[in-house]
Symmetry: none
Subunit: 206 residues, 4 copies
């Protein structure tokens, strides 16, 4: 799995100034992509939004896709961090409550940024590298959830690992669907409520 040469950052953040500039570009890119979509989110527009020249932008990122990659990485990291924060904050005791918390956290992670999420995960070309990272992040999460399920006496599943994978995937997929498909707020509540119920029954077994 050779690292794609084209995507390697040109410059290491040797100085904090440099790091700030990178961040300014990423912030601008996030705004621009969310507003214009992938193909209309031109590098010139991003540079303008970041308040710098296009030439400067290319001193921090070798090409447009490298920006996308960074943005995606940050997005993954954010999601992971948010979930880990929730887990670290201490989960409630009941299974239902736990699921509720996780689903809500996922909804929160999507809300507000789902336009960018859409660009990142639906429109932009995603290099194998990022796909791998995404998979790794998900696998890590599955691992954590599997452990939780194994420890929970209320859970009755044969293969906690498989169950964890289904749960994680289902939450992620459905929440994305629900959030993306411009539902009324009431709808979203009803759907997430039923999602929790489905998972609960599944995990609780007969």
């Amino acid at each position: 799995m050779a690292v794609d040469q084209r995507l390697r950052p040109r410059k290491r953040p040797q100085q904090s100034r440099s790091h700030e500039t990178r961040q300014r570009i990423l912030d601008a890119a996030a705004r621009i992509f969310a507003e214009h979509g992938y193909s209309a989110g031109t590098t010139n527009r991003i540079a303008a939004a970041a308040g710098m020249s296009i030439g400067s932008l290319y001193q921090y990122f070798p090409n447009k896709d490298a920006i996308i990659v960074e943005l995606t990485r940050a997005h993954i990291a954010d999601g992971t961090a948010q979930l880990h924060a929730v887990l670290a904050a201490g989960l409630p005791t009941g299974l239902t409550e736990r699921l509720r918390v996780v689903v809500d956290a996922t909804v929160a992670a999507h809300t507000g940024g789902h336009r960018l999420h859409q660009v990142l995960f639906e429109q932009a070309p995603r290099p194998a590298e990022v796909v791998d990272e995404l998979r790794a992040a998900e696998d890590a999460l599955v691992e954590v959830v599997a452990a939780l399920l194994a420890d929970d006496p209320a859970v009755a599943v044969d293969d906690p690992h498989l169950a964890a994978r289904i749960v994680v995937t289902t939450v992620e997929s459905l929440v994305h669907r629900f959030v993306t498909r411009d539902p009324a707020d009431g709808d979203l509540a009803a759907l997430t409520g039923e999602l929790v119920r489905m998972l609960e029954r599944y995990l609780a077994g007969t």
Copy 2:
């Protein structure tokens, strides 16, 4: 709901030859889009793949998006037809068996064409018209499933309609995920098996 003028077909198949040519273009477009993605799937490439000049292509479709729309429509029609065929063939009696059949049909509908599916449903701009059709097709399916659930004594859900929506969405989303994530065949079997189990437990209630 006026039909989007930009997307109107240019030529009615006045001759059987004409109809074949349209189909040739659509087939070529499906191949090209699956291979290159939406933006790199250029009209010139499609024309070349269809073995005709770019001018000819534009005699049959007014623009690139009209091709996408047609492809999407065909895709929806295919899926719908396949599912209705399954339902018409007579469902088995047990709940588990029924779910198994539906999930398998969905997997079959995805297999082979998931690259195209990805382009159609994730990358390409989708005009409101198609979004509406897609929603209508899904709503119709939800209706059918809701009726089935309401009639089934093994099913214990409060709101069959809501349950049907969750089931349909879950099957669709997860199967797409599973198929897209190039899993080994064994994996796919395990995942769909567990998916069936989840839905079964959900619907059977405590």
Copy 3:
């Protein structure tokens, strides 16, 4: 204005049939060019408006510009005929009245067809051939007017030929300007009235 079927000969001589088809094309072209302008007046549109296939059109005219040339020729012939008709109908006796009649005839020749006139004389490329014909027609007209001026005792100009050229050109140019520049009807009357007065004073001398 359908010709009574029973009265039409069953078979026409090829020549006249061919002639009618040509005319159908020219009529259609006049409509299309007037409505769409030169470049948007495509040969396909013209063929469609003439109720025939594009292939047939090209059996009567070798290319688009040949149609333009024919149309221009017809336009010139029409204008000439109209003016000659006016002259043949017998001019009034007074100089003012005569000028009035000529100006009105020119306005009439422009009115209604000025969109086509514009296309023919402003947008379309005009081959040298047509330019020459146009000049010849104008020269002939100048000749006629010069003779009239020479015979008219009320006219006091040194060089009737030169005066005729100025008169003809002025009438033609200004009427075209007035008609083209979307004037209110009142405006047009005032302008043509003043135009007549200018010419009258010019010709009457001190």
Copy 4:
């Protein structure tokens, strides 16, 4: 009267270099349009004639018509400036002499650039914006001439405003005609001479 968005210049001349480049494009466009006409005056040809890439051209003008607009504006400004220079230089006292000066100035304004003038005023699509400017420029000129006529004791017209409009239009139209019709120099002199005589008699009245 909102400025047509499509025609807004892309770049303000932030550097003097930039201003020169704009001018280079306009000069090249003037040459190309004069030589090839509007539709055959392609942006690529213009860029090539300006010695730059097509991309550069589009950094300075958002589209082909914006170039036409700019050229037209410059043309109008030139003509206006020339005439105002003549007026400011002090008109001669006699009516004939004054007319002579104005006609000569108009001829001078046309000479050399009449091919471009033809493209600009006959072939190219003219946005409402420019039409308005053109009309405004003409109206201003009419105003000035009307004042001159009203002040001149040798002038005997009922409505100086209307007379001024006729005079201005006539000079403009006929000079354009004369210059366009590639006459020998002698011809041009004779024609403009007679034009002056016509206007003189018209204005002097009986």
